[in-house]
């Protein structure tokens, strides 16, 4: 028929994962750190030298020991091994982050995509509902819950989740609305595809990138928020080895037993940093237009 057209300035095929990682050192470093943290969280029971210390065990004879080869991070006011507690703390923090972000995406993404893709009344109604939830500050809600129910990691997670999901709805809605205006969506309509199929197979996949980026950056944010709540006494309670709680418990002794605050605090910092960088790196990599520059 017509001659095969291969020479019209073709672009290179997509790069392998290895090439992507090599070209983005930031992403690679952050991803590696993130993997380490997840592994620590998963393997804590195996790596921790004194797993019982992460629970209610106390050692009245070994209190306030400085860092040593027996206790890498020292011991706390009731003699528990801080290293083990920090390792277990990773489980809690990452679990809370997973729960909050998972819930936010589960609720926010569909609401946002429907609002953005359909527009009109659906958009207005859904976004006003979102606005109502956006008005709740996490801290006040947690305070309210704490006064009604007993403060705990679970209740703190619920409080954070309720205030977190609206951001995802907004984000999804903005992206979906932008995608819905692009010519290929009009093409779907012209082809006769059903609106449902168009939304699920075309609008949704193209709305995911900012969500993914936000989610990875948010892990750090959730960890910080949970730690803040625990620090204020509204979240985890003793003996739960949550990082924020440990900072709270150690702050009075900061001048003399510095390790009580420093190690949990550093754990919070490093985790938040790692996931923030991961989010940044992902944002750069997931932009499909980057490949075009290589032409």
């Amino acid at each position: 028929m017509t001659e095969v057209v291969l020479s019209e300035g073709e672009l290179a095929p997509p790069r392998s994962l290895r090439a992507v990682l090599r070209a983005n050192p930031l992403l690679t470093a952050a991803a590696a750190l993130g993997v380490v943290l997840v592994l620590v969280a998963l393997l804590a029971p195996l790596i921790a030298p004194h797993p019982a210390d992460a629970g209610s065990a106390t050692h009245p004879l070994a209190t306030f020991l400085p860092p040593s080869s027996h206790h890498l991070f020292g011991t706390d006011p009731v003699g528990r091994d801080l290293f083990s507690r920090v390792l277990y703390g990773a489980r809690i923090s990452l679990a809370v982050a997973a729960a909050v972000i998972g819930f936010s995406i589960l609720v926010g993404l569909p609401l946002g995509v429907i609002a953005g893709a359909l527009g009109g009344i659906a958009d207005t109604v859904l976004m006003r509902i979102t606005d109502i939830f956006l008005a709740f500050p996490a801290l006040l809600l947690a305070l309210a819950l704490a006064s009604v129910l007993t403060p705990s990691v679970t209740n703190a997670t619920i409080a954070i989740s309720i205030t977190w999901w609206p951001w995802y709805a907004r984000l999804a809605r903005g992206q979906a609305a932008s995608v819905a205006g692009r010519p290929f969506i009009a093409a779907c309509k012209a082809l006769g595809l059903s609106p449902t199929r168009t939304m699920l197979r075309h609008v949704l996949p193209n709305s995911l990138t900012p969500i993914i980026v936000q989610a990875s950056a948010d892990v750090g944010g959730v960890i910080l928020t949970a730690a803040a709540l625990s620090f204020l006494g509204l979240g985890a309670q003793d003996p739960t080895p949550e990082w924020g709680l440990m900072v709270n418990q150690g702050q009075a002794y900061f001048a003399t037993q510095w390790w009580l605050v420093t190690f949990p605090g550093a754990a919070i910092l490093i985790s938040a940093l790692a996931f923030n960088l991961l989010g940044d790196g992902l944002r750069d990599v997931l932009d499909p237009r980057r490949v075009v520059e290589r032409r």
Partner: protein, 328 residues
């Protein structure tokens, strides 16, 4: 042989707020193979008409009959069936394909949009479509950003053909392409027209493209038809001053003439009361008092329809090309 037109547009009107983008347009498209060109500049309404024909936007007034049925009245399953029969290819090759879908999947989706096909049959269909538009099988696994603009436009055409339409609307299909790519694309459209006995509505601002691909042409200005008829007639002996201005403005590769008047032709300003005057009169070299108070009706003159009080004079004058070797 069926001689009723495939598409009959009557008194089509589309408003955007207070702007009458399309204001009482009527034309017919014969059965394929046949091409009708819609020519005009910005604000002419040609793109709006294209979208109304494929029901991407709604019209305020008028009828669009496809095979005798008014498509503006259709809904539900009947509308879906019409969407199979009439397809559109957009101007911009960049946004026209889902960036996250491989070419093969996109074409498969189109091929199965209106009927179920076993997987093997879908594959064969996709391969055949790619072949028809001059792309290789390997392109099936590619993503849009891995293709050039011209290739993406070919995929857009293949996608439109996948549903086996009887009417194809091409909205400036080559404007965004490089000139060598454009030439190949025009040849492709011509070949496909022969292969499938296609009837198409070609929207373009480029008279030469319309001349190559369309037997008949409709010239639009500010939402109204100013002249319509056989392409060759319109281009060689235009009867409306605007058609003449369009024809004269096409730069010629061959020769250069001294500067004429670099005056104030510009994007036409919209005025709401065009109902009471000729829309072109502010720019028209032949305008007389009558043009300001009486809108010219579309009437038959020398084998075409033209909306001008002084069409006969315009024909007699001929057009003065701004930049061509010969004066006619």
């Amino acid at each position: 042989m069926n001689t009723t037109p495939l598409l009959e547009v009557r008194e089509l009107a589309v408003r955007f707020g207070s702007v009458r983008a399309v204001d009482g347009v009527s034309f017919e498209l014969a059965r394929g193979p046949f091409g009708l060109g819609l020519v005009g500049e910005s604000g002419s309404g040609k793109t709006t008409i294209a979208r109304a024909v494929v029901r991407l936007i709604d019209a305020d007034r008028g009828t669009i009959r496809f095979d005798g049925t008014d498509v503006l009245e259709l809904a539900g399953a009947a509308l879906r069936r019409y969407r199979q029969a009439a397809q559109i290819v957009f101007q911009d090759p960049d946004g026209t394909l889902d960036p996250r879908m491989r070419i093969g999947s996109a074409l498969a989706e189109a091929a199965t949009a209106h009927r179920r096909l076993p997987r093997q049959a879908v594959r064969e269909r996709v391969d055949r479509l790619l072949d028809e538009v001059g792309l290789d099988n390997q392109h099936r696994r590619r993503f849009p950003h891995q293709l050039s603009g011209g290739q993406r436009q070919r995929v857009a055409i293949a996608r439109a053909l996948a549903v086996e339409p009887r009417l194809l609307v091409l909205d400036e299909p080559t404007s965004a392409l490089d000139v060598t790519v454009q030439a190949r694309m025009l040849k492709l459209i011509a070949d496909l027209r022969d292969l499938h006995a296609l009837a198409y509505l070609l929207i373009s601002h480029n008279l030469a493209v319309v001349e190559q691909l369309c037997e008949e042409t409709v010239v639009l200005y500010l939402g109204k038809i100013v002249e319509a008829g056989p392409t060759d007639t319109l281009l060689s002996r235009p009867a409306h001053p605007y058609t003449q201005a369009l024809r004269a403005a096409v730069p010629d590769l061959e020769a250069k003439l001294p500067v004429r008047d670099a005056g104030a032709a510009d994007t036409p300003a919209r005025v709401d009361d065009w109902a009471s005057a000729c829309a072109y009169h502010p720019r028209c070299p032949l305008a007389i008092d009558r043009c300001r108070i009486e809108p010219p009706p579309l009437r038959a003159v020398e084998g075409r329809r033209v909306a001008c009080h002084r069409a006969e004079d315009a024909l007699a004058n001929g057009y003065r090309p701004l930049h061509a070797a010969s004066a006619e």
